[in-house]
């Protein structure tokens, strides 16, 4: 079979180098965890994936927070908006991630926008619920006191209600962040970013244990670290609200 549409080769054909120079026998034999592979591939594979994962999460939660805050403030003012908002956000939350990503690819394309729209959708329910619940927790006596001090509605909101709602808001942020980090592992099916990329590569190679454990471990670690950071943030911002037990 000599296809006519190729440039004729030199008699010797291509020079094939010895690729063995950079390989690791531990990886070839697919041992549990190969530290040399990990060290070698942190820079080109794992760190870019981790960095991309963090960016995906932060953007999604930030945008989700802004939208949920707006919705919660509106529902706080006009009770009638609460049920429809819960309905819509629950609807979005119920669609499995793989399906939602593919559904968005049709109108939006297989790009970062589809990924972010989906990730944002999943944060809305929990953030909306928690922000609203937090604001509702504020005792009416406090609101009356603020009113009595002559605060406008906006001032009361910014100086009294939202700060007192912080524990609930941060609790919601914690859940949203952890959920988004877990969901972002699926982003690779439509857009080349996140820790799902090395997981996908590893799955296709045996599965390749070291890469799987590295990428999977990083995802879980990221979630736990982010959760811990938010708890710290909450403690810093609301030292008066330390409620023990429960």
């Amino acid at each position: 079979m000599t296809p006519a549409a190729i440039v004729p080769l030199g008699a010797a054909g291509p020079i094939i180098p010895n690729y063995g120079a950079g390989s690791s026998s531990c990886a070839v034999r697919n041992h549990f965890f190969c530290t040399d592979w990990f060290g070698h591939n942190w820079g080109p594979v794992l760190w870019p994936a981790l960095r991309g994962h963090i960016v995906l999460t932060v953007v999604a939660v930030a945008i989700g927070f802004v939208i949920a805050m707006a919705l919660a403030l509106a529902a706080h003012r006009y009770r009638v908006l609460e049920q429809p908002t819960i309905l819509v956000t629950t609807f979005l939350y119920t669609i499995p991630s793989l399906a939602l990503f593919e559904l968005l690819v049709a109108p939006v394309g297989a790009n970062v926008y589809s990924a972010e729209i989906a990730l944002v959708s999943y944060t809305l329910l929990i953030l909306f619920r928690n922000i609203l619940a937090g604001m509702r927790e504020v005792p009416t006596e406090v609101l009356d006191a603020a009113d009595g001090m002559g605060m406008t509605r906006t001032q009361s909101l910014l100086r009294v209600e939202l700060p007192l709602a912080l524990p609930a808001i941060v609790a919601g942020l914690r859940i949203a962040v952890v959920t988004t980090i877990a969901l972002a592992t699926i982003v690779y099916t439509i857009y080349d970013a996140g820790l799902g990329v090395p997981i996908h590569t590893a799955l296709g190679e045996g599965p390749f244990k070291t890469e799987l454990i590295a990428a999977g471990g990083l995802t879980i670690l990221l979630a736990l670290v982010a959760d811990g950071l938010l708890v710290l943030v909450q403690r810093l911002l609301t030292p008066w609200a330390r409620v023990r037990g429960g």
Binding site: Y93, A106, P167, R174, V178, T185, I186, L224
Partner: protein, 243 residues
């Protein structure tokens, strides 16, 4: 948006693809997904509800119950499935194991909080009437806890169906995810059609559970107030329970 038109055509033709006579039909894969999901959910509920409810009844183990939920949330479905695949191979048993691992945490947390947050006065009144601990749990606490327990079941059902489709990415064969993972054979119209079916299936299951929830909720219980009270409890509990 012609892709949606083609996707609907795919659905209407039960997943037939030109030039590929022997692909499994859409209906078959939908039923398979449902089967795998129902088994996983059932096992999870059998394990998690008794544990969570009993702990809630005793008002103990809140740290465990709430942090199980936190840790469960931090486990990506794909990672659990991939680890299962790497060390145990990906058969139905391993997929069901992954489903149980992922679905149990939210159910335990919700069952615990649901029972724990039942008005103590009501429980005391029941005790005062001479009910045993088991009777209090079964006849008083559980019925009052139905809304929040069902919230947990519905969350778990979404996890379960979602993970069943993701299992196909890890190499499992026997769910609608097979289509989504196999765009080469089914083309994008098939993938989109399968995605629509997955969404539809999950929403239908959720609606069915909502119906059951309504049927099981004792009459005279003001649902919105109950849910609001329970979700406040959940929020407060999460706010106080750090890592």
């Amino acid at each position: 948006m012609h892709e949606f038109v083609e996707a609907f055509r795919f659905i209407v033709h039960d997943g037939a693809v030109a030039g590929q006579p022997a692909l499994p039909s859409l209906g078959y894969l939908t039923l398979q997904t449902l089967k795998v999901g129902v088994i996983g959910l059932a096992i999870s509920l059998v394990v998690a509800i008794p544990v969570g409810a009993w702990l809630g009844h005793l008002h103990r183990g809140s740290f465990f119950a709430i942090n199980t939920g936190n840790i469960g949330r931090a486990l990506p479905s794909l990672v659990v499935l991939a680890i299962g695949d790497a060390f145990l191979g990906l058969g139905l048993t391993v997929v069901e194991l992954a489903l149980v691992i992922l679905a149990v945490p939210p159910v335990i947390t919700n069952a615990y909080l649901a029972i724990d947050s039942v008005d103590r006065e009501i429980v005391d009144a029941a005790r005062g009437m001479g009910m045993s601990a088991g009777q209090v749990l079964a006849r008083v606490e559980l019925p009052l806890a139905v809304p929040l327990i069902f919230a947990g079941i519905r969350t778990a059902s979404v996890f379960v169906l979602s993970t069943t489709t993701i299992a196909s990415l890890a190499g499992f064969s026997g769910s609608l995810g097979d289509i989504i993972a196999n765009e080469t054979s089914y083309h994008f119209s098939g993938v989109l059609g399968a995605a629509i079916c997955v969404a539809g299936l999950t929403l239908a299951v959720d609606a069915a559970l909502a119906f059951v929830q309504r049927a099981l909720t004792p009459r005279g219980l003001r649902l919105l107030a109950q849910e609001r009270r329970a979700s406040t409890r959940l929020v407060r509990a999460l706010a106080s329970a750090g890592p």
